[in-house]
């Protein structure tokens, strides 16, 4: 028995059928076809699947899909407006804040969740915001700098 779940993904209504126990990551990747959130552990411990649900950062892999009925879900796929990059995306590029790119979708969404609430965070607040996101390549410093730069950029999105 599949269960239907409807929610708003990046401002668009979507409907998927899920198995009992399916997580939001599976619903997004296999159900909707939004593969921007990544499977890095399924344990809620790496942050590669970070999305924003109702304004809060959430780990899609440990979020029951059924519990997202009617929720507003944001993923990296919805960040760019047409050809324009979000300031976080531009800043990640300018700061060379990605190498393999696998943690990047979760990292950017964790950062967006921070900036949505706190547009001018301190370095410490940025560090706090990405504390649940593992990066194995960069040593974090370029990522921290990119998020701070995005916050400081005059360009509002």
């Amino acid at each position: 028995m599949k269960t239907p779940v409807q929610f708003r993904l990046n401002d668009q209504p979507v409907a998927v059928f899920v198995d009992g126990g399916d997580n939001l990551l599976t619903a997004l990747r296999d159900g909707v076809g939004d593969v921007t959130p990544k499977f890095g552990c399924g344990q809620g411990a790496c942050g590669a699947c970070t999305v924003i649900v109702e304004g809060e950062p959430r780990l899609a892999c440990i979020t029951l899909a059924e519990a997202c009925e009617g929720a507003r879900v944001e993923t990296l796929a919805g960040l760019r407006r047409g050809p324009d990059l979000h300031p976080l995306q531009s800043a990640f590029m300018e700061h060379f804040a990605a190498q393999c790119g696998f943690c990047t979708p979760g990292m950017i969404m964790a950062a967006k969740a921070l900036l949505d609430r706190n547009p001018r965070p301190s370095r410490e607040e940025v560090v706090e915001a990405i504390a649940g996101n593992i990066c194995r390549c960069t040593g974090y410093e370029p990522i921290i700098e990119a998020i701070l730069a995005a916050a400081a950029s005059a360009r509002r999105y």
Binding site: G42, E56, T63, A129
Partner: protein, 272 residues
């Protein structure tokens, strides 16, 4: 068979479903249970959740009642729970805190359960839904029965409101900053009167399979002052009654060895 998810309107119905089915688990924030689902655990087949709200935070006299579904993030945002902000900030990352709940944290296996440790030091008492009725259970008893014959679903936890900002102290020692699993966690409620401690409650996380009270430390602090001499006996008793594990974070030897050091730093407000 895929997992079956059952969503109930009330805690009572949820408690019934869980009680009648050994292969059923109550799903809170999902940080513990969804991992088991993802990793293919066949120890359970049914997830039970409820839509009955349990996200209230109520102050009543000297105690505060926190709904079981209150998230760690909600605690961080709640002014009345400022004394818990330091503890909440050290749990998970923001996304885990947005999901993880007060009720769920009571069931986190060592070395997790930092909030539970704090609640234990604050004389936490859980309200359990068992069938149609509710009963109160001190957290110490809940931890003792956890994983064995504990029945029911936690609806809320009531804790003491510390009498002053300095009366409640919390330290989490972890290898990774800003967050990581605990080498050990210490939470202490240290009411003082005329500079003397009375009825101290000190709890450890990661020093036993569940959060535990450091009763020898509590006894040694009774009537003493928070200075080097006053805490000496407590430090000498710091590892008494503990049963830490050799795990991936630290060994039992190390945890016992540094418990007095971090206890002193907590009691004397020294930097980590």
């Amino acid at each position: 068979m895929p997992i079956t998810v059952k969503t109930t309107a009330t805690f009572a119905e949820a408690a019934d479903l869980v009680a009648g089915n050994r292969a059923a688990r109550f799903l809170g924030g999902g940080t513990l249970l969804m991992r088991d689902v993802n990793e293919g655990s066949v120890a359970f087949e049914t997830l039970v959740r409820t839509t009955e709200p349990a996200r209230a935070i109520r102050t009543a006299g000297s105690r505060i009642e926190i709904g079981a579904a209150v998230t760690i993030a909600q605690i961080q945002a709640e002014r009345d729970l400022a004394f818990l902000h330091g503890a909440a900030r050290l749990i998970g990352g923001p996304a885990v805190r947005a999901a993880g709940t007060v009720g769920g944290n009571l069931f986190a296996p060592s070395p997790y359960g930092d909030l539970a440790t704090a609640l234990l030091a604050l004389d936490g008492v859980a309200t359990l839904q068992q069938g149609a009725s509710r009963r109160e259970m001190p957290l110490g008893d809940l931890f003792a029965q956890r994983g064995r014959d504990l029945r029911g679903v936690v609806v809320s936890v009531s804790i003491l409101r510390p009498e002053s900002a300095d009366a409640f102290r919390f330290r989490k020692v972890s290898r990774v900053k800003p967050k990581g699993a605990a080498v050990l966690t210490i939470a202490a409620h240290l009411p003082t009167s005329g500079g003397r401690i009375g009825k101290a409650r000190v709890a450890y996380g990661a020093m036993a399979p569940t959060p535990i009270r450091a009763r020898a430390v509590e006894r040694a602090l009774e009537g003493r002052s928070l200075d080097r001499d006053g805490v000496a006996a407590a430090l000498a008793a710091a590892a008494e009654g503990t049963d830490p594990a050799d795990d991936a974070i630290a060994s039992a030897w190390y945890r016992r060895e540094v418990a007095p050091v971090y206890l002193r730093r907590l009691l004397l407000n020294e930097p980590d």
